[in-house]
Symmetry: C2
Subunit: 414 residues, 2 copies
């Protein structure tokens, strides 16, 4: 295998997670350890936008302790973006600029951390660099709390969100049952098309401290059927806890706020989700004549590094590290993924998935993991998820609060 | 001192916290250790309502391990209530019934855990029992995340909420700054009249990872002034993070939802708070033309035992334990409180506060701890709060999620 000498750049893209910085730590620490081949390790501010704008940091200038702390620091330390590259055949502008920057900084290794769109970006850049005859190894590092990337058993970021959701749901359960009067509580979780995060509340239910009803976007939502489900539970228990994905919709494609009443739309006419818990709980309260509470876990579910899954943090680091090692070994155009060899005991191996197979394919919860009523999960889901949330990771606590990483972000000079 | 032989009962009242069960553990474990004097240790279901309804559990039947686990189990394990006793001179019914139950179960020790209203309940019951010549020692154990009880340096429950809020706010801060486009984020905290919980976000700010602006109910809220504050920050940083108490109101007593637009009212005409973050963030977004996000920490801020303050858990346990010890020593009609002897090092001693001094007096944040602009906290608040959030308490984790206490709740038989 030919050794490719040059510099490396890493960028973060898409919605932040608790562990995207753990993958950054994996890339940075591994790349810096190979200074015989990789001369400079760069970080791009706000992903691909930072490369286009030449907002590039010299990671070699960072304190190694702060890089280590990235493992337990949530969000995207370099900044993120939601920038979609056009097709090079339609508009070459961005690609020409990327090539210019890659030449200027002698970028021979490009690592990109993100979800579906980011893997698509990786793929497009790699193809373009090959066509332009700029030798560059490109590796995707997966992340998404949505857990919807194709070809991998699971995605870094999902398990930490799932662990936080399961724990917080148990705590909310205990709180919601405390009075002797009737009460319905609705918890709203993220996930526009795939119900993985909402399904995580089934972990709480399996411990006897979770929702009575779980509604996922995989199953068409029927408001009347839901009212009938809720009524049954409420009449029996005088309480009902419901977990619902922000993305559930009826067979004709209407979201809960649309089904129940008014819905906010943005300038492009996209339905603004969120607020579902509050809207749905009011709807139920009016019909049952009971007290209700709607709780949106909101951003808290994707940035709670104080209660991350150790398994997830370790795997996220490993994914970043493996991306670097594989590229040094001559691989390119792959996303690092996970293949589960065994669930009990949990054995998961790294696998490399060709980028063009990953891009823009969405993985949902298998329908045969959902109960026949469409309002709960079957044990197969628990078998899948439990090993992923094993172990606790939290940042070092100083003065009673987390000590998160703080990067100097020294601008690269050429 | 005369030894008073008989049985003890403990009840929980008001909104749950992360540590109200730690006080329960303190009462139960201490009382059970004095079986030479206290024959039976009872728990009342749903506080005073459980005594009236004779829903009484025999705590001696519980597994000691489960009582130990109460220290790290949030909410109110026995169930809570919001039941206000009438004045005995107005309506004696409840008191006659209480006396009847106290006689039947030979209750000579009554421990009640709650906030302002609960201390008032304690006080009324004690006075009545004295008048009826039923010898009974009555001790209040404080709890309230609102931290608004008079006569004590702080209240069990507050510090754990504060720690959770400070940590989660730091995490949300990191998440909210991740994109390069303009963005305003509003976090809504609990506290109808006192801003202690909202002020806890100043801990995050002191670490450079917190709100730019903090609005407390102690300061009259001016919507125009706030817009001017936000504009200044936003124009400088392209971002703004705001923490606001659900209870902030204008000089003429209107809450934010009323100031901004419509507000929901319940059947009694009480303004339904909550939704403030969402309403306020929309208002700001329309004026600045930027993306906004409203986040309500909701119940999560009062039940997150997975990130409790060790100091708070220990003090809550101690409060329960002290209530029992003091009653055995012949004390009655006191609430257990805390007196701070020194802040650095933190030294706090137990003190006993006469119940009639506590009841229905509300403690707010001293105005000289708030900055002159009325949108932030001064260092004096940090000096006060930092020792309280020191140390981490979390439940034992099994299968990646908390193992909370599960009581058998065996009905007492006479």
């Amino acid at each position: 295998m030919e050794i490719l000498y040059g510099n490396a750049i890493f960028g973060q893209s898409g919605g932040p997670t608790s562990v995207i910085n753990a993958s950054a730590a994996g890339v940075f620490i591994e790349a810096l350890a190979h200074s015989d081949v990789i001369g400079k390790v760069y970080g791009a501010a706000h992903g691909i936008k930072g490369i286009l704008a030449e907002e590039i940091y010299d990671i070699g200038q960072e304190d190694p302790c702060e890089l280590e702390l990235l493992k337990t620091t949530p969000s995207s330390a370099l900044g993120s973006c939601r920038y979609k590259l056009k097709d090079a055949t339609v508009d070459e502008t961005d690609y020409l600029r990327l090539l210019e920057v890659f030449r200027k900084y002698n970028i021979r290794y490009f690592f990109y951390n993100g979800g579906n769109d980011s893997m698509d970006t990786c793929n497009k850049i790699s193809k373009y660099m090959q066509k332009a005859d700029w030798e560059c190894r490109v590796m995707g590092v997966p992340k998404t709390i949505d857990n919807d990337l194709f070809g991998t058993d699971h995605c870094p970021g999902f398990a930490s969100s799932a662990k936080y959701i399961a724990t917080s749901t148990m705590e909310v359960y205990l709180d919601s049952k405390v009075y002797d009067f009737g009460m319905v509580t609705v918890i709203e979780l993220m996930g526009r098309n795939a119900g993985w995060l909402t399904a995580a509340t089934a972990i709480s239910a399996s411990k006897g401290l979770g929702p009575d009803l779980i509604y996922l976007p995989e199953i068409p939502f029927d408001l009347d059927q839901m009212m009938s489900d809720v009524r049954k539970i409420y009449e029996r228990d005088n309480k009902c806890l419901i977990a619902v994905s922000e993305g559930v919709k009826s067979t004709d494609g209407r979201y809960i706020p649309e089904l129940v009443g008014t819905v906010a739309r943005d300038a492009f006419g996209h339905a603004q989700l969120g607020g579902t818990a509050s809207i749905l709980s009011s709807y139920i309260g009016e019909r049952l004549g009971c007290k209700v509470r709607g709780i949106e876990f909101s951003l808290l579910q994707r940035c709670a590094a104080h209660l991350a899954s150790k398994t997830d943090v370790d795997e996220s680091y490993l994914a970043g590290q493996t991306a670097v090692k594989s590229a040094l070994d001559g691989m390119t155009d792959y996303m690092v993924g996970f293949e589960r060899k065994s669930t009990d005991p949990y054995v998961c191996e790294i696998k490399l998935i060709p980028l063009d197979q990953v891009a823009n394919t969405e993985k949902k919860i298998p329908l045969d993991w959902i109960n026949s009523e469409g309002n709960g999960l079957l044990p197969a889901f628990l078998d899948y998820v439990m090993p992923l949330i094993a172990g606790e990771s939290s940042p070092p606590m100083i003065d009673g609060v987390p000590r998160f990483s703080s990067l100097k972000k020294v601008k690269a000079v050429i």
